[in-house]
């Protein structure tokens, strides 16, 4: 390759790289140094004075609450990966058919992501409320009054309830990406299968599925990243409670940063969290490469 061509090729990435290096790499470097310091976020920062080595990380490894928060986020993520994505894919497939009035659904399914967290929080709290909630009302009406409980403050149900709201609020994203992915499959590819009289399931398996693999990977990585980092919803629904039953990594980071002003510790939590997410995503990407070959 000629040097000129390579330079030309670099030009394509240059704008992205410039913005990225200014607004990401510098803060990233700073966060990394802060993670090695004990600093309250207020006093004048002095690296030599505040440096404490890896003590933050050592403490973090022993922080049981942190790791249980990680597990709880993992639990929500698992539900989102299966339930939310299955729903998104199913709805995308349904909307991809040439159907009367199919258009209107496309619009409606994107409403939850658009909706403000405040409204979502108010409405869902009203549904889950222990005394005047819709859910309990329905349960009583269909004769399941033994299931009636205080959904968000019962330690057994709080996490799953939050996960359900998260899936409801998030399936619209996956839905749109799946829909966009389905559109890039040329209609002609289905023709031979149709002529052969294949059922829709067979067509899905032989035509749609293989072509959608990259999109599945994309959506699953985005789901993991999006769900692991959930927090606004948690703060507005349960505040991490009851006890620590719905704490997730980001709420813990906020608690160290704003709540107890341990800026250095918060930064070390952020880095640890990032490392876990990187590892998970790496595994996902490796798995997907394997799947593509298979």
């Amino acid at each position: 390759m000629r040097t000129k061509t390579i330079l030309q090729n670099y030009l394509f990435v240059l704008p992205a790289f410039l913005i990225f290096s200014i607004f990401y790499i510098y803060p990233f470097y700073k966060v990394f140094t802060l993670a090695l310091c004990q600093w309250d976020g207020i006093a004048r920062f002095d690296f030599a004075k505040n440096f404490i080595g890896l003590r933050n990380f050592i403490e973090l490894f022993q922080d049981k609450i942190w790791w249980s928060a990680m597990l709880q986020a993992g639990y929500i993520t698992l539900i989102a990966l299966t339930f939310q994505n299955a729903l998104a894919l199913g709805l995308a497939l349904a909307c991809d058919r040439d159907m009367k009035g199919g258009n209107i659904y496309r619009v409606i399914f994107y409403l939850p992501p658009v909706l403000s967290e405040v409204v979502a929080g108010l409405v869902w709290k009203w549904i889950y409320d222990g005394n005047y909630g819709l859910l309990n009302y329905w349960l009583q009406n269909i004769g399941l009054s033994n299931l009636v409980t205080d959904w968000l403050s019962n330690p057994k149900t709080a996490l799953i309830c939050v996960a359900i709201i998260h899936c409801w609020k998030g399936f619209g994203w996956g839905f749109i990406i799946f829909l966009a992915g389905l559109q890039t499959i040329p209609r002609q590819l289905y023709e031979p299968a149709k002529v052969d009289g294949a059922s829709s399931w067979q067509m899905f398996k032989s035509v749609t599925l293989p072509l959608m693999v990259p999109v599945f990977i994309l959506v699953s990585i985005l789901t993991v990243l999006g769900t692991m980092q959930v927090f606004v919803l948690i703060l507005s629904m349960t505040g991490g409670g009851p006890g620590y039953h719905t704490e997730v990594p980001v709420t813990r980071i906020l608690a160290s940063m704003v709540g107890s002003s341990r800026f250095g510790y918060a930064c070390s939590q952020g880095i640890m969290f990032g490392a876990v997410l990187l590892a998970v995503s790496f595994v996902q990407i490796k798995l997907s490469k394997y799947m593509k070959q298979a």
């Binding site: 913005i19 349904a94 409403l111 939850p112 966009a180 890039t184």
Partner: protein, 282 residues
């Protein structure tokens, strides 16, 4: 003929079942929105006691009150400006980079790509203070350009990844044909890659505009002049530490939600039409 009818009946039945399922999901999606719109017509006193979706005495004045009290006029223009410029920037910059990552060869390609990908994965909750220091040093604090650049940066990684996935699926033959026609690299990007990735670009526009439109925390960090603040600042007026003016808040939220739904309505058409039109252009 008989087969045709059977097929039709079967199809009708299938569609019917699918419709029922879709309607059930739709109801759960529509209900909170209706509740929000309905609540914006109630008063602070009736909002939690009047359980009807649409109140008997709708307070249409709430919208006017929310608009004036929240100072929405100015904020609205600001938010439009930020959204349009940031989304435009994201689409151009991300598609150039994604095209290079997908189609061009240069040393360090993979490392660069994984760097962007990594940025998406490592959240930087502590970056608030460093970012503020950086923006002050660059004299970007309290400027529109500083905010827009931050928003572009925030949307970049995701968009590059999404677009690369779609560019990778682009048939190589089309690219070759364009090259034989004498198209340069930038020409292929513009004439072949972008039209083919139309659904993906529509998705990016939908997601990014929602993110920029709803962003607020970064704006409070970067801006100090009220005249530069985005729309979400107007909603904050109704959410006091102690008092939330629910009906005005709901009216304000209804106002702020409408444009973003409009963006979606405009963009989702491109998700549907998608490919066939694009293939011929190259």
């Amino acid at each position: 003929m008989k087969e045709g009818t059977k097929y039709k009946i079967e199809r009708f039945f299938k569609d019917f079942v699918i419709h029922i399922l879709l309607i059930i999901v739709s109801v759960t999606c529509l209900f909170p929105l209706l509740w929000m719109a309905g609540s914006s017509l109630k008063t602070q006193q009736t909002i939690f006691s009047d359980m009807s979706i649409f109140p008997k005495n709708p307070m249409w004045g709430n919208f006017y009150l929310a608009w004036t009290k929240g100072g929405f006029g100015m904020y609205f223009l600001n938010s439009m400006f930020y959204t349009v410029t940031a989304v435009f920037g994201i689409v151009i910059i991300a598609s150039l980079a994604a095209f290079a990552f997908s189609r061009l060869k240069f040393p360090g390609k993979n490392i660069l790509f994984y760097m962007f990908l990594g940025a998406m994965m490592i959240p930087l909750p502590g970056s608030f203070v460093p970012l503020y220091v950086l923006m002050t040093k660059l004299h970007l604090i309290n400027t529109r350009i500083g905010y827009i650049l931050c928003m572009i940066n925030a949307g970049l990684s995701f968009s590059i990844y999404l677009l690369k996935t779609f560019f990778d699926k682009m048939p190589v033959e089309l690219e070759d044909a364009a090259r034989i026609d004498g198209c340069s690299k930038i020409g292929i990007w513009w004439n072949v890659a972008l039209p083919l990735a139309k659904p993906a670009i529509a998705v990016i526009i939908i997601f990014s505009s929602l993110n920029v439109w709803n962003e607020y925390i970064l704006a409070t960090l970067i801006f100090s002049s009220k005249s530069l603040m985005p729309l979400q600042r107007g909603l904050m007026i109704f959410q006091g530490i102690h008092i939330t003016e629910y009906s005005l808040l709901m009216a304000g939220m209804t106002i702020t939600t409408v444009p973003i739904i409009l963006v979606y309505l405009l963009m989702q058409r491109h998700i549907i039409k998608g490919l066939t039109a694009g293939v011929i252009v190259g």
